[in-house]
């Protein structure tokens, strides 16, 4: 497969592994957070950790959209489908995420709710056009990668005069989440995660650009290397991070320069700014309330806001007890620190969102490194 195989080349991987082993000083550890769940999965899918020294550690970040969505918002979406009788259109990743009472979109669908999996916001618009007598709500979720597509759908709905289409907006922002992980407000400093740098997201960065990370680096003094999603991208970025640490530098470097530019996608940024406004604060699973970290639909497009169109009841959703998703999303714990992992909680019977999403770190550990993880857990007990 041209343009992909090059980034999975075994000989290049070996030479990068040698360079990393030479660069990494044996007298210290390196803890790098890959913010994005896509990176977590690339690392596990290709066994990248087998090719780096043991003192280079990957800490998994909160960049998994369905993992950080608090249960209350999922319960709200379920209520829209069940009580308000709308057609709920959603990306497939949401379907199996457990809500309150271990309900999910899949179980709600089986019980008769009209929930449809779509691959793009344009599919949701098509459903709205094809069902003029039904209300269609698109579950908007994701970081800056998926946000522009939601904005486009709202613009198209306005253009076409669609009156039966709205968006339940849960779009979140990357830089405030990184700041929150580093600031760890209200968390005992001993409990906060220690990091030496970040692997910056791939797709998010194509939209927001490398410049978006400069204020963070200036404020916290931790290097960020924007990394592609292929295994060699990850390895090269790790090498760049180790070099920055060893040389005492903290800069934004762009390993993924074949796609990511300094300023990002201006057009995507413009339509996001047009269609959305920043929420004062938004709840994240794991991080809690994070100021200015999420988008709501701007008043000018209020008619497309499902939260205005439908009254959703106040809920007391409670996260599953003893599920370590929150601490795992902060990078403080690893899936192997969760008693449920691989026992009560598996991809088939997930207790927490991190086990469901194809970007969740529990799913990565279970899918790709289950035997080792369970053995380590047993040894620790």
């Amino acid at each position: 497969m041209k343009y992909v195989s090059e980034f999975r080349d075994p000989a290049l991987a070996r030479s990068l592994a040698r360079a990393i082993a030479q660069e990494a000083r044996p007298d210290r550890t390196y803890a790098f957070m890959e913010f994005c769940g896509g990176h977590t999965h690339a690392i596990f899918r290709y066994g990248v950790q087998d090719l780096v020294p043991a003192n280079v550690r990957f800490v998994h970040g909160p960049g998994c959209p369905v993992c950080v969505l608090p249960m209350r918002r999922l319960d709200d979406a379920l209520e829209l489908a069940e009580r308000h009788g709308v057609i709920l259109a959603t990306y497939g990743d949401m379907m199996r995420v457990p809500g309150s009472g271990r309900r999910s979109m899949l179980t709600a669908r089986a019980a008769g709710a009209d929930i449809r999996m779509v691959y793009s916001t344009l599919d949701a618009l098509t459903i709205a056009r094809d069902n003029p007598d039904r209300q269609v709500v698109f579950m908007g979720i994701g970081f800056e990668t998926t946000t522009p597509a939601t904005a486009l759908a709202i613009l198209a709905a306005r253009r076409e005069g669609l009156t039966n289409f709205s968006v339940f907006c849960n779009h979140v922002l990357t830089p405030p989440a990184i700041a929150h992980v580093l600031e760890a407000p209200g968390i005992d400093p001993d409990q906060a995660v220690r990091l030496d740098g970040f692997l910056g997201p791939s797709h998010v960065s194509t939209v927001i650009g490398a410049a978006a990370y400069r204020p963070l680096v200036a404020r916290f003094g931790k290097p960020v290397v924007i990394a592609g999603f292929e295994p060699l991208d990850v390895m090269q970025s790790v090498l760049m991070l180790i070099r920055q640490v060893n040389e005492g530098r903290a800069e934004v470097e762009n390993q993924y320069a074949r796609v990511v530019t300094e300023t990002g996608n201006a057009k995507a940024q413009a339509i996001m700014d047009d269609v959305f406004v920043l929420r004062d604060t938004f709840e994240w699973r794991g991080l809690g309330q994070v100021p200015q970290s999420a988008r709501a639909i701007a008043p000018a497009y209020g008619e497309f806001d499902a939260e205005r169109r439908f009254a959703v009841s106040e809920k007391q959703s409670r996260e599953t007890k003893s599920c370590e998703c929150p601490a795992i999303l902060r990078g403080v714990k690893s899936p192997k620190d969760c008693k449920l992992f691989g026992r009560a909680c598996t991809p088939e019977t997930p207790m927490g969102a991190c086990m469901v999403s194809s970007e969740g770190s529990c799913a990565a550990y279970y899918t790709y490194r289950r035997a080792e993880t369970l053995a380590e857990m047993e040894a620790a007990e």
């Binding site: 497969m1 066994g47 087998d50 959209p65 497939g92 999996m117 779509v118 088939e348 970007e359 035997a371």
Partner: protein
């Protein structure tokens, strides 16, 4: 043109009522396309000369959507699928049955085309469809047409195919490229249409299997990696045999078009269905012989050695499927949980 197949005609409830309309449907569509001497007996039960030796029997329900796809349709798929299930017992198929559940309002012209394709697949495979049944369900109670096929076959002397034969050190082979069928189907699914040159690999494998077991009777296991793909098949076998298996990712044949489609959709070719491929586990010193036989058949042209059976799993732990990745790392190859869902970003 028969009276039944006038333009625009559809299946009506009466076609499943057992009366004249049913007889006409059976005669003008099924009997015409499936024509063979045993079916022509016209009895409620087909009479077949009993072969000597061990019989295998298998059944399979087909509910594919869309009904027609690049490289085949539900009719040819129903024939190939059941023939392959018989063949995976090391057996040679001798007869098939076919039951149709048809939705009221289904175009007779499409039914005729599917039956014709089914008849052609059976004839090409040399396996007659000897008996069948037709039911019609009300509109909205089915998805066009469902076909259930049953097959029986005879196992040659000296061949015993069973997971308990799997032993450490054995070789794991596949007969060709993975994921062709699943991606061909996905490319035509509603809401996901994309243009591709990939056709389903749907094919009958019994002739290749006959030559394989004749050349190497001590083949341990044959399986066709259909739903759930290669990972489901090998996980099942690793668990049944209580062994660890290790695959070499670089050796697994996948067409570039399939790999590309999977990249885009966030799917893994290891999880995608195949309908004309088999997995064979055999003693390592016979692997080359089996490969040579497979490669001498068009359906085994791209056969490859993809891994080995490792040690017995520790007592109390299930078998495990592992992989050496392209870049030389290692990982578990998991079953797919739930249906394949596309990723968000």
């Amino acid at each position: 043109m028969s009276r039944l197949l006038r333009p625009g005609a559809t299946v009506e409830m009466a076609h499943g009522g057992g009366g004249l309309a049913t007889t006409r449907l059976v005669r003008e569509i099924f009997a015409r396309h499936f024509a063979n001497p045993i079916l022509a007996q016209g009895h409620d039960a087909a009479r077949i000369e009993a072969p000597s030796g061990r019989l295998v029997m298998t059944t399979d329900a087909h509910v594919v959507s869309p009904l027609e796809f690049p490289g085949g349709d539900i009719g040819s798929l129903a024939v190939h699928g059941t023939i392959n299930d018989v063949a995976m017992g090391g057996a040679q198929p001798i007869a098939l049955s076919a039951a149709f559940i048809i939705e009221e309002g289904f175009p007779l012209e499409t039914l005729d085309r599917i039956a014709q394709s089914m008849g052609r697949a059976a004839r090409d495979a040399g396996v007659p469809i000897v008996t069948g049944d037709t039911k019609v369900v009300e509109r909205g109670h089915g998805d066009g047409v469902y076909i259930a096929t049953t097959g029986i076959g005879v196992v040659p002397e000296g061949v015993t195919i069973a997971p308990e034969n799997i032993a450490p050190g054995m070789a794991i082979l596949v007969s060709g490229t993975l994921g062709d069928h699943g991606v061909a189907i996905l490319s035509r699914r509603q809401g996901l249409e994309f243009s591709t040159t990939i056709a389903s690999d749907s094919a009958a494998l019994h002739r290749m299997v006959a030559d394989m077991v004749a050349a190497v009777p001590d083949i341990a296991v044959l399986r066709d990696p259909t739903r759930g793909g290669l990972s489901a098949t090998l996980n099942e076998l690793a668990e049944a045999a209580g062994v660890t298996m290790t695959l070499d990712e670089a050796a697994i044949p996948v067409r570039p078009e399939v790999a590309g489609a999977c990249e885009l959709l966030g799917l893994d070719p290891m999880h995608i269905a195949n309908e004309g491929k088999l997995v064979c586990i055999c003693p390592a010193d016979r692997a080359q012989d089996v490969l040579d036989v497979m490669r001498s058949h068009p359906e085994g042209r791209d056969a490859a050695l993809i891994g080995t059976v490792g040690d017995r799993a520790a007592p109390g732990t299930p078998g495990l499927l592992r992989m050496t990745t392209l870049i030389g790392g290692t990982r578990v190859v998991d079953w797919l949980a739930g249906e394949p869902l596309p990723r968000i970003c």
